[in-house]
Symmetry: C2
Subunit: 127 residues, 2 copies
Amino acid sequence: MNYSKQREIIIDTLTKNAVHPTAEKLYEIIKREHPESKIGIATVYRNLNKLSSAGKVKRINALEDSEHFDNNTHEHYHFMCNKCKQIFDIEADIAPDLVKKIFDKTGFLVTDYDIVFNGICKSCQKK
Amino acid sequence: MNYSKQREIIIDTLTKNAVHPTAEKLYEIIKREHPESKIGIATVYRNLNKLSSAGKVKRINALEDSEHFDNNTHEHYHFMCNKCKQIFDIEADIAPDLVKKIFDKTGFLVTDYDIVFNGICKSCQKK
DNA sequence: AATAAAATGATAACGGATATTATTTTATGA
DNA sequence: TCATAAAATAATATCCGTTATCATTTTATT
């Protein structure tokens, strides 16, 4: 992967915005914060795809219309609040050894997975 | 929900096809098996949405372009093989008490979730 | 500096899903 | 059982997130 200014901005912006933005959201932020960059939406999609194939970004399939992205590729899950629509991190230790358990039980080799819980977050419950 | 012949066919066909079809696939099967029914694709989508809101059908977000549906609404997970693209069931006991664990740990109230593993199934590994 | 490979911007195109609308079917109850 | 309102349907236009295309620019290599 060759260097590009745009990719640097994309990675940088995703890292600074740990809110798990969609490609579109990320594009908006970049346009706002780097108006000189003249970056195109296709470039954002192209790079997020490339980075997620390379394992440098995690794609989150959030039971919604569009995908979200996360610069944290360490094992963890997500929780999306149905009211405020925010996405929170959930530590992976609530369900240990999933890959091994599945292999032992079924012989299936898990290479990737994505766990997204839906519900109401703590602060939205109080409202 | 009022009765309709089309909805009956949709439920019936989904029940008989435990392969977790997409709306489009289901539509094709119905056209083939009930050519007299003249069912429209929008009706299939409309009913699957309605049935899943009513909890009578489970929507599966399979890290793919389109959604799949499952008539089995009991708690279980899914495994999608990257080679043969088949979707298999995984029993829920590999990760017990997720909802409770999340609530205890974070205060978030989980109302729904969807776990889809990706990888290579047993028979595709041999090839 | 010359060249090839990679990346970009602009935008057309794709495709899954939904909205629209006129029509038909179902449920209700007089 | 007929009249009426609500629900559902078929056909299709539309929406919108994402990808493909392609001419141009940038990066890496020698």
